[in-house]
Each structure stands twice: as structure tokens, then as C-alpha cells.
């Protein structure tokens, strides 16, 4: 054979070998593939001779097996990771029936639960456990014992429910903790740890919220869906071909239908064209009305607070006058949100945007409530601080008297008398514990109110509508009152404000975080059940905004608001003289100074005193902010550029989808 013919033959053999290797990727019928394969193999056998026919095959089979094992491992690991996320299936069920906006509330709830769990771990592990294990037991020192006067009623249910009695003198509250600088064998510095955990909780929450916001901003951001092929992808890729279970299939059908409905709503909003001027006028009118009502409620709260201060001086109050403040605040909280919603119908926004406006407005309303609560609390704290002075003097006097009595009774002035029975020592007012009790009572009543509301407004309503419908003149299910829809804005705000209360109160009541963890856990199950059993989907199902940064933004604001009171008390208010881990100090942060002086080497002390100079800190912080701002702007710009480039490339079709084989082989389409 000539050279040219040899070369051509080698080429053909190579081609046939490639064909054999790739024959499974060809979209032919199996019969045709088998036939073509046989021909190609015979050709190769004839002309290749004994050139290691079977050698490549074993290696290839081994490679394929390893790759399959790896893919299976990856799949199992992904399944395991998804299975570890708690309540995922519950939330997916809610999502498939009620849409992604309702599900976003539950995802937010789950995230909160995670954060609270970490805060609980910190508090419990670094403050409560050391005090319980290594500190003095109950009854050994005055701050840990119920006073003699209260001992009769200390076990009563009503007293315990008010968090007095045994509850008050337990690890739940600030007052129980001892101010010994170190406890136990390990020389654990409890007061320092208490302060650090308090500040660290805020630091951790801040870090977590900001990190979540940054992560959400990565994922697309923006309200609308920017994909090129939204509907096409939904239609052709939404079904999961791996589903083999009828219940899963049912959920999948529901979620696909809901998802289509959401996209249709989005699309219809884009297509609406209307009278711009009328719309603008109506929106301005609506905002004006709502600002008026917000101003009205603010003034009402101010007026009622002033009246309650007057009432504090009188003693002949009727039941209404005693509880006027709480009644007015609850009424406002119940009446205003539906009022805002009705006025907002004038505005005619996309449901997602309308939800944001509603959230913002109710937030402004609730800030009024918060302001009143803090106002009342600070009043109480100031009164207690004044009381302290007189009680301090009284208790020192009582101790002197006790010693005098003792030595007189036993005619002995040399031996030291045993210490006074802890229950008899005159106790200071301990304003921190009082504040802690207020927060705990508020949280507990909040829990009770929210659970009752769900029970009555959703469950009882559903039961009545369902069963009374049989014997009622008009159709209860279609007309008034029908079944309730899930109130996203109310629930989200409830969660955000509750977390604010926890942040504020955790410093004065370490047990509060534990209570909150239990509350979130039971809430998840209770609300999931309530939603599935008693609510109907919104009339216009809408997609949650991709970023969910709006909830996070609210949370961040509340975090700052709750940080301020705590920082103020740590820096300015003197701690109680006889209760809590900072008793006896001038200011709470003196613990840190003490630690630096006594525990750290000398040069660290001087270093800190230089570094704590405001003239140094303020420029450094400003510089850092400026630097971070400019880098983030630069990243955003480069992101935009890359996105534009990608769009340009995809439009010019540089990606070719047909493989070369498909294009060169004319018979690739089966007839």
C-alpha cells in the first residue's frame, strides 16, 4: 500500500474509533446504534490488527465507575445537607400552597431561631452555668434569698406568674449574680464574662445581620425578575423528573401553579398602562391621610402618658384609668394597620411594593409604642436610684444594730458574731432586676396575645365559617367573613419588635433568651399548622422580593435602637449597690478597667489608655468607613461591566450549541 493510502486508512480508523467512543451521545435509535457500532468495530478490527484492542476498554470502564461513585457521593452529601436544615419540608409545603411571600416569613422565622440559639448558647454557657456550678448556692447571701417579708407568698402561682417570689431570686435575672471577681477552681471571672457576653451578643447579632444582608445582595437583588427566559424556563424545566412519590408530586403541581400565577401577576403589572396624573394624585392623598393618622396616634400616646403620670399621684383610680395606657396602645395596634391597608388601596401598587409600604407605616406606628415603654421604664429606674440612697444608709444602720444586739445578748465583744440571716438583711430596690422583670413580662404577654389572636381570629373564625355555613342566609365562605389570609406584614413586624425587646432585655435578664428560643420553636410549629389548616392563599399571589433585605434592614434599625439604652446604662448609670455582678462599682464598665489593671501585664494598661483616646479612634473609624465605601463602589461598577459583557456575548451567539458531530453528520436527525 502507498504512503498516502496508509495515511488515509489510519485517519479512517481513528475516525471510526472516535465514533465508537462517542456512539452513546448520538440521538439515534438503539437498533441503529448497535448496527453502526458493529460495522465500525469490524472495520477497526480488520485494519488495526493486534494493536492492543481490549486494553483501553478496562481503563475506561474503571474511570467511568469512579466517576459514577463520585457523583453518587456528591448527590448523597447534598441530600444529607438539605435534610439537616430543619423544617425544610414544612416550609416547602407552605410555599407550594401559599406562594413564596408567605414562605419568606417562615424562612425569616427560622433564621431568627438560629440566631437566638447561638445567643442562648453564649449566655447559658458563659454566664448561667458558671454561676450555677461554681457560684454560691441559693440562700447563702442576701441577693440570692427571698426576703423574710415575701417568704410567705413566694411560692404562690400568681406571684410566680408576675415573676416575683422565687422567680425573681433565680438565675433568670440580673440580681442573682454575685460580684466575686473570680469563682471556682478555674478562677472564672464572672462579672467580666457577664459584661462581655452582653456586648458580644450585640456584636454577634450585628455581624450576622450585616453578613446576611450582604449575601442577599449578591443574589440578583432588585425586585423584578431579570431573567431572559422566565416563562420558557418555568414551562420546560420546572418539573422534577426525579419525583417518584405521589404526595411530592402533588406538592410540585401546587408549587408550579403558584409560581406561574406569581409570574403572571408580575407580568400584568408591567403591562398595565393608566392615567399617571390620577395615580400620582391618589398616592399623594393616601400618604397625606396616613401621615395625619400617624401624627394623631403619636399625639394620643403622648397625651395618655401625661395623664398616667398624673394618675400615679392619685390612689382612687377606676379599672379603666389604671390600665388606660395599655388599653389605648393595644387599640391603636389593632385598629391602625387595617386602616392603613384600606387607605393604601388608593395607591394601587404591585402587591410586593404595597407590602413594603405597609411594613414601613406600621413600623412607624410601633415606634410610638416603643418610645412610651422606654419612657415609662426610665422613670421607674430613676425613682429606684433615688430610693437606693436612703436604703443604703438604712441597711448599714441595721447591720450595726444587729452587731450591737448580739454582743449585748452574749456579753461578749471579742468573738465576731455570725453574719445576719440573709433573709433579714434590708434589700436595695435593685433596678436592674426590675427592668428585667418588665421585659420578661412584656415578652410573655406578647406570646400570649399572639397565640390567642391566631386561635380566635384564624381558627375560631375558620370553624365558624365552615360549620355555620350550612344554616346561614348568605355564603359565609365567599362573602364576609370568609377565611383569613396570612398577615405577612403584621407577623414580620411582630417578630422584629420581639427581637428588639429581647436584645434590650437580655442584659438584665439572662433567662430571657432561653424563653425566646422556646417561643420561636413553638411558634414555628403552631403557625405552620395554623396557616395550612385555617388560611387561604392571597387573592393575588405574589413573589417575595429576591433579596429579603427589607426585613433585614428593619432588623438592623431595631438593633441600633435596642443597643442605645443598654450602652447608656453601662456607661452612665451606677449599678445597684447590693445585687448583680457589678455591685459596689461606680460604673459597670469598671470591671474591664479592673481586669486590665490586675490581670494583664502593666504595659497593656498604658497601651489601652493611649488607644482609648477619642482623638485617635474617631479619625480611624472615619477613614475605615471611607475606604470600605470606595471599595464597595468599585466592586459594584466592575459587576455592572461584567453583566453587560455577558449580555453582549450571549446575544451575538458566541456560544455554539450544536456539537461538531451533529453538524457534519447529515443523518443525525431521526425520521
Amino acid at each position: 500500500m502507498s504512503e498516502g493510502e496508509m495515511a488515509r486508512l489510519m485517519e479512517e480508523v481513528e475516525e471510526k474509533k472516535k465514533l465508537i467512543a462517542n456512539i452513546r451521545t448520538k440521538p439515534w435509535r438503539m437498533q441503529r446504534r448497535l448496527v453502526v457500532l458493529k460495522e465500525a468495530q469490524e472495520f477497526v478490527d480488520k485494519f488495526e490488527g493486534a494493536l492492543g484492542k481490549g486494553k483501553g476498554r478496562k481503563w475506561y470502564a474503571y474511570k467511568v465507575m469512579m466517576m459514577k461513585k463520585w457523583i453518587k457521593f456528591q448527590r448523597d452529601f447534598e441530600n444529607f445537607r438539605t435534610a439537616c436544615i430543619p423544617w425544610e419540608r414544612k416550609i416547602k409545603e407552605v410555599e407550594s400552597h401559599f406562594g413564596s411571600s408567605v414562605a419568606s416569613y417562615f424562612i425569616f422565622l427560622r433564621w431568627m431561631y438560629g440566631m437566638n440559639l447561638v445567643l442562648f448558647g453564649l449566655t447559658f454557657g458563659l454566664v448561667v452555668i458558671p454561676e450555677v456550678l461554681m457560684g454560691l448556692p441559693y440562700g447563702s447571701i442576701p441577693r440570692k434569698t427571698v426576703p423574710r417579708a415575701e417568704q410567705d407568698t413566694a411560692q404562690d402561682y400568681s406571684v410566680l406568674m408576675d415573676f416575683n417570689g422565687y422567680c425573681k431570686y433565680s438565675v433568670l435575672f440580673y440580681g442573682y449574680y454575685n460580684d466575686q471577681r473570680t469563682v471556682g477552681l478555674l478562677k472564672f471571672r464572672l462579672p467580666l464574662s457577664y459584661l462581655m457576653v452582653g456586648i458580644g451578643s450585640f456584636g454577634y447579632s450585628l455581624m450576622l445581620v450585616i453578613r446576611t444582608m450582604a449575601k442577599n445582595a449578591d443574589v440578583g437583588g432588585g425586585d423584578g425578575e431579570e431573567g431572559e427566559f422566565t416563562f420558557a424556563w418555568k414551562m420546560f424545566t420546572s418539573w422534577d423528573y426525579l419525583i417518584g412519590n405521589s404526595e411530592t408530586a402533588d406538592n410540585k403541581y401546587a408549587s408550579i401553579t403558584t409560581s406561574f400565577k406569581e409570574s403572571i401577576v408580575d407580568e400584568q403589572e408591567n403591562q398595565k398602562d393608566e392615567n399617571i396624573h390620577l395615580r400620582r394624585f391618589l398616592r399623594v392623598l393616601a400618604n397625606f391621610l396616613i401621615t395625619c393618622s400617624l401624627g394623631g396616634s403619636g399625639y394620643l400616646i403622648y397625651f395618655v402618658v401625661k395623664r398616667s403620670q398624673e394618675f400615679a399621684n392619685r390612689t382612687d383610680l377606676s379599672w379603666y384609668e389604671k390600665n388606660e395606657l395599655e388599653i389605648i396602645m393595644s387599640l391603636l395596634g389593632l385598629v391602625c394597620p387595617p386602616l392603613f391597608e384600606t387607605i393604601a388601596e388608593l395607591e394601587d401598587y404591585h402587591p410586593r411594593i404595597a407590602l413594603k409600604w405597609q411594613l414601613g407605616r406600621i413600623f412607624a406606628l410601633f415606634l410610638g409604642n416603643l418610645y412610651t415603654f422606654l419612657f415609662a421604664l426610665f422613670d421607674e429606674v430613676n425613682t429606684k436610684l433615688e430610693e437606693e440612697e436612703s436604703i443604703k444608709n438604712a441597711s448599714i444602720w441595721a447591720l450595726k444594730e444587729y452587731y450591737a444586739n448580739y454582743s449585748r445578748m452574749f456579753n461578749d465583744t471579742d468573738t465576731t458574731p455570725p453574719p445576719m440571716n440573709p433573709a433579714d438583711v434590708i434589700r436595695g430596690p435593685c433596678w436592674e432586676t426590675a427592668v428585667g422583670i418588665e421585659f420578661v413580662k412584656l415578652t410573655v404577654s406578647d406570646i400570649q396575645v399572639s397565640y390567642l389572636t391566631i386561635l380566635i381570629m384564624d381558627f375560631a373564625r375558620a370553624v365558624i365559617v365552615r360549620f355555620l355555613n350550612y344554616c346561614w342566609c348568605w355564603d359565609l365562605e365567599a362573602g364576609f367573613p370568609s377565611y383569613g389570609e396570612f398577615d405577612i406584614s403584621g407577623n414580620v413586624l411582630g417578630l422584629v419588635f420581639n427581637q428588639g425587646m429581647i436584645w434590650m432585655g437580655a442584659f438584665y435578664a439572662p433567662g430571657l433568651v432561653g424563653i425566646n428560643v422556646l417561643r420561636l420553636l413553638s411558634s414555628m410549629y403552631y403557625q405552620c399548622w395554623a396557616v395550612m389548616a385555617t388560611n387561604v392563599p392571597h387573592e393575588r399571589v405574589f413573589k417575595a422580593s429576591k433579596s429579603n433585605n427589607f426585613y433585614m434592614g428593619l432588623l438592623l434599625l431595631i438593633l441600633f435602637l435596642s443597643l442605645l439604652p443598654v450602652v447608656y446604662t453601662i456607661m452612665s448609670l451606677p449599678p445597684s449597690f447590693d445585687c448583680g455582678p457589678f455591685s459596689g462599682k461606680n460604673k459597670m464598665y469598671d470591671v474591664v478597667m479592673e481586669t486590665i489593671d490586675l490581670d494583664l501585664p502593666a504595659f497593656m494598661g498604658t497601651l489601652f489608655s493611649y488607644a482609648a483616646n477619642p482623638g485617635l479612634i474617631i479619625p480611624a473609624v472615619l477613614l475605615a468607613i471611607y475606604y470600605l465605601n470606595s471599595t464597595s463602589e468599585a466592586y459594584q461598577n466592575s459587576n455592572m461591566e461584567l453583566k453587560k459583557k455577558m449580555q453582549m456575548v450571549s446575544r451575538e451567539g458566541i456560544f455554539s450549541i450544536e456539537t461538531p458531530e451533529m453538524r457534519s453528520d447529515p443523518g443525525w436527525m431521526i425520521r
Binding site: R29, Q74, G653
Partner: protein, 187 residues
């Protein structure tokens, strides 16, 4: 199982391994699944290529397919007679393409055929309407169905002939993030 099976000749098994994405063990396991659908119809000896076809009803009742809204189209696309009655070759072919080892282009090609209900090599409006109704179990109103189908044609039709050709479909599906995943149902 070992090496002592008598269902296929060694060459047959090797040929199947070359023509599908399955290993020897998987091919035998699939054969047993095929046989379990109708043990009296399927012989245990395939060395002389018996001509056995299982009717669509049996294929459609497999647990992997019975919940899939497109099972009838899948069976029709992969069967030789176009009616859904499958021989063993068709059966192996179908699962090979549906398996996770099959590449995206191959799946896209067959996906196009599956969604093309009237077999005219184009996905036209009526095909889209049928797909959508199967996906939502007829829960959407007629207006909504019409709107969605118009939007799909708007988005994906590149050559502006009012229907999707194979190129249009592939161009759109190749970019879809959800087309190929190794996890169980997300949304």
C-alpha cells in the same frame, strides 16, 4: 450475578455498554426491571434477539414514571412504533438518556421531542398549551394559559415564525440553571 449470566452473549453486553451510559451490572438490573413488568411475556434468553414489546400501560405504571405528567410523551418518543410500546432496546435507550450521566445536549434534543406533542418538529402554540395544562393539572384559566404561551413564544422564538424550532429550544434551554441538577426536588 458474577460472570455467569446467560441472558445476553458477552458481545451483546459489551455492545450495550458502548451504546448506553450504563455499566454491565446496571444493564442487567434494568433487564430484570423490564422483565418484572411482564414476566410471562419477556423470555430469560435474549441471545437470539426475540421481538418482544411491552404495552404502554405497563411502562407507564413504573414507579419512576407514574407521577410524571409527561410519561406518555416520554414513552412515545422512545418507542419504535411511536405508540409507547417499548422493546428492551427502547427501554435501555430511554433510561440511558434520562440518567444523570447523559450530557446536556442529548437531553435537550429529547426534551424537545417530548414537548412536541404533534410531532411536527416544531413546538407550536397548541403544544405549549398542552404542556402547561399538564404541568398545572388544568388549574390556570384560559386567559392565563394564553398569556403564558404568548410570553414563551415571545421570549424564545428567535427566527420569528411563531413557533419554537429545535435551535430556538436549545438556545434557551442550554442557559437554564435548573435543566440539569443532581438533587431531589427544589422548587
Amino acid at each position: 450475578m458474577g460472570n455467569k449470566q446467560t441472558i445476553f452473549t458477552a458481545q451483546q453486553l459489551d455492545a450495550y455498554q458502548d451504546c448506553t451510559y450504563f455499566t454491565r451490572k446496571e444493564i442487567l438490573r434494568l433487564f430484570y426491571r423490564y422483565r418484572d413488568l411482564a414476566p410471562q411475556l419477556v423470555p430469560l434468553d435474549y441471545t437470539n434477539h426475540p421481538d418482544v414489546k411491552l404495552p404502554y400501560e405497563l411502562i407507564g405504571s413504573m414507579p419512576e414514571l407514574k407521577d410524571n405528567p409527561f410519561r406518555q410523551r416520554i414513552a412515545e418518543v422512545f418507542s419504535e412504533d411511536g405508540q409507547g410500546n417499548m422493546t428492551l432496546n427502547d427501554f435501555l435507550d430511554m433510561f440511558s438518556v434520562l440518567s444523570e450521566m447523559a450530557p446536556r445536549d442529548l437531553k435537550a434534543y429529547y426534551a424537545f421531542k417530548i414537548y412536541d406533542f404533534n410531532d411536527d418538529d416544531f413546538i407550536c402554540k397548541s403544544d405549549l398549551e398542552k404542556t402547561l395544562n399538564k404541568l398545572t393539572r388544568n388549574e390556570l384559566t384560559e386567559d392565563e394559559v394564553r398569556m403564558v404561551c404568548e410570553k414563551v413564544i415571545d421570549e424564545a422564538d428567535l427566527d420569528n415564525d411563531g413557533r419554537l424550532s429545535l435551535e430556538d429550544f436549545q438556545h434557551m434551554i442550554v442557559r437554564a440553571p435548573d435543566f440539569l441538577r443532581y438533587r431531589n426536588s427544589d422548587t
